[in-house]
């Protein structure tokens, strides 16, 4: 589904991603962990198409297409979704209007007719239950005045509405209490299928108790330096990252 080969990217002359490789297949959940500043969020931004970042080398193929050639909205229409670490507040744009515009723009991209108001509202009712989002929040402005937990649940709600093939969760668990974390994880697990895949970026192993990854990668200094299964996450939680840094130093 997603194939990243020797990706190099940075911002204003500063290299952040320095030759990153990653293969994600349908049905898989990949966790990316790593210390602060290792480039995890930059990777998420580059994949979503944030224009501040410049790709200086390598390639990213998504469902056979050159992802880096696509505008952010085209990536979304092709089935890529990024749950933001810091969801943006947009006063004056209601959640409902926002999602309806998004769904119909994506449908237009796929040359489909707009979704009927009835079907749309039915979908809103069903999917908002998934993340236990109060019906009132749907009519409020996007993320405006939402608590931290509500914002993150709103991200998963949007994911549920847009039905992406590949979801990237950028530290969706940061700052969540255990109840909100369970709700978010339940949402992600319900949406999981053989046809979809997820990349879960996190600092904390705790999330991986609820969203079980097939693979765990450790990112350090712009590269994936170690990959393993979910046991690797437990080891990281227990031992921190220093032993990996030491391994790397020894290897050099």
């Amino acid at each position: 589904m997603l194939s990243i080969k020797n990706l190099q990217a940075g911002i204003e002359e500063k290299a952040i991603i320095k030759g990153l490789n990653l293969e994600v297949k349908a049905g898989e959940v990949h966790a990316i962990m790593g210390p602060n500043g290792s480039g995890k969020s930059t990777l998420a931004s580059v994949l979503a198409g944030r224009e501040d970042y410049e790709v200086t080398g390598g390639s990213v193929t998504f469902e056979g297409a050159d992802l880096l050639e696509l505008a952010p909205e085209e990536r979304a229409a092709e089935g890529l979704f990024l749950a933001f670490q810091y969801p943006v507040e947009i006063p004056g744009v209601s959640n409902i209007n926002f999602l309806r515009t998004a769904i119909n723009e994506i449908r237009a991209y796929k040359k489909l007719d707009p979704m009927s108001a009835k079907d749309f509202l039915k979908m809103v009712r069903e999917r908002s239950k998934l993340v236990e989002l109060d019906g009132g929040l749907a009519n409020r402005s996007v993320n405006e005045g939402f608590s931290g937990g509500e914002k993150k649940r709103n991200e998963i709600f949007q994911m549920a509405m847009l039905e992406p093939k590949l979801s990237i969760l950028d530290e969706t668990d940061s700052g969540l209490d255990i109840d909100a974390l369970r709700i978010v994880a339940k949402g992600v697990n319900t949406l999981k299928s053989e046809k979809t895949a997820s990349i879960v970026i996190t600092h904390y192993q705790r999330l991986l108790d609820h969203i079980i990854p097939d693979f765990v990668h450790v990112m350090y200094n712009g590269r994936i330096v170690k990959s393993g299964t979910k046991e690797l996450a437990l080891e990281l939680e227990a031992k921190g990252y220093d032993w990996i840094k030491e391994e790397l130093t020894e290897a050099v």
Binding site: A48, G49, R50, E51, A71, P72, E73, R75, A76, A77, F81, L82, F84, P87, V88, E89, I90, P91, G92, V93, N97, F98, L99, T101, A102, I103, E105, I106, Y109, S141, Q158, L162
Partner: protein, 432 residues
């Protein structure tokens, strides 16, 4: 002083062009003479006048204006608000059209053009006409007071509720038309009405509109006033709306400036009663070399009143917006809550806004706030919308709609609100 000489000549020429022999003020003893004297004593404003600092009006006053003749071929569809069931008083180039107007009859209300009132009927309004609109220091008001021949007279007796909105329509057709209309709206105790005043260009260029309204809102009356401005791309407009409110009255004015080369709105509200509510909202959308200037004054003279002002501007290309909002809270006006905000979005590097909120407080137990912001569309929010599949143009349009939504959503006349929403959606369809 060559500038003064030039301004003098522009003034004299303008005066000569707009002079008439059938002025409304001529029917009230001494009023027209006083206006003439006021005209003699004043010059056209320059940008050295504080009140006109950011608005250079004189270049728009130099044409050989022709006071308008009635146009017989106006299609009502061209100025009506779709889906609005309303009464209407229609003026074409400043001249009343009975044929196009649609008026109710009744003992407790009068909706009439001045041109159909007798001398005695007009003279009976001497306590109102020329009393609220200050012309000793306002030359455009003096010009209007001296020469305006027609306009709307609205009188609602105590307790009268106007069942349908009243649309006061001022359409302008033809080149270099000079239009001076004068309106007097008297709402007696406990009356209620919705007034939509629209100034619309249906073609023609380089027209000048100079309009003055005086509005009396008596005790416990409740008035919603909408001022819709769709002036020609090469035309200028100077308007003055002067309101006095008595105890427990509510007055709301929403100024919607969608088009016009040069638009200046002077809005003055004297809150001369206790327990009043005053709301002034505005949207101004500009492009090209357009210039829109809103000057507001809310004068709190008595206690326990609330006022709220929210003006939002979106300036594109080389256009300019001006906002000057003054709130006075007099010593007697304890327990006043006054809120004022002006917010602007600049869509181009060449667009300008001059924003000056002012607050003068002489009472010690009040809550007042004012503020002004100017910025660009939030690029972070646009990126967020794009990651959800919304194209860049649609994302920018959504952001623009969101920016003005708090004013738009307060428009209580549904067909008017829809018209504004459609205008905005269409206007900002292809933003990049």
């Amino acid at each position: 002083m060559s500038i003064t000489t030039e301004a003098m000549s522009v003034k004299d020429k303008l005066r000569k062009r707009l002079a008439t022999s059938t002025a409304i003020s001529g029917k009230i003893q001494g009023l027209q003479e006083t206006a003439f004297a006021a005209l003699e004593n004043q010059e056209l404003p320059t940008t050295r006048d504080e009140y006109w600092k950011y608005t250079r009006i004189t270049p728009f006053l130099k044409k050989d204006f022709i006071p308008g003749q009635p146009e017989t071929t106006v299609d009502p569809i061209s100025y009506q608000i779709e889906g609005l069931d309303c009464y209407s008083l229609v003026f074409v180039n400043g001249v009343y059209s009975e044929k196009l107007s649609d008026l109710p009859s009744g003992d407790t209300l009068q909706l009439r053009p001045f041109s159909e009132m007798t001398v005695a009927e007009i003279a009976a309004q001497k306590n109102h006409l020329g009393q609220l609109a200050e012309f000793e220091t306002q030359i455009f008001t003096a010009l209007n007071t001296a020469y305006a021949t027609d306009g709307s007279f609205v009188s609602l007796k105590a307790g009268t509720v106007l069942e349908k909105p009243l649309h006061l329509v001022y359409v302008q057709i033809g080149n270099q038309t000079g239009i001076q209309t004068r309106n007097l709206l008297v709402f007696e105790t406990n009356s209620q009405a919705t007034i939509i005043e629209s100034h619309q260009s249906l073609g023609g260029v380089e027209a000048l509109t100079n309009t003055v309204s005086e509005i009396v809102v008596a005790a416990n009356a409740n008035i919603d006033h909408y001022l819709l401005q769709y002036i020609g791309d090469n035309s200028a407009y100077v308007g003055s709306t002067n309101v006095i409110q008595e105890n427990d009255s509510q007055y709301s004015l929403t100024t919607l400036t969608l088009r016009g080369r040069m638009v200046r709105n002077n809005t003055n509200v004297q809150v001369n009663g206790t327990g009043c509510f005053t709301q002034l909202n505005g949207i101004y959308l500009t492009k090209g070399k357009q210039h829109v200037d809103n000057h507001t004054l809310v004068d709190h003279l008595q206690q326990h009143c609330n006022s709220s002002e929210l003006y939002k501007g979106i300036m594109d290309e080389q256009s300019t917006g001006v906002f000057n909002g003054k709130v006075f809270v007099r010593q007697a006006a304890q327990k006043t809550n006054a809120f004022q905000s002006n917010q602007n979005i600049l869509l181009s590097d060449d667009a300008t806004v001059n924003s000056k909120p002012e607050l003068e407080i002489y009472a010690d137990d009040v809550k007042c706030s004012h503020g002004s912001t100017t910025g660009q569309l939030d690029e972070e929010a646009i990126y967020y919308l794009r990651t959800r599949g919304i194209g860049e143009a649609a994302a920018r349009r959504l952001m623009v709609q969101a920016f003005v939504s708090d004013v738009v959503n307060q428009i209580k006349v549904e067909p008017l609100r829809q018209k504004i929403e459609q205008h905005i959606a269409h206007r900002y369809e292809g933003l990049s």
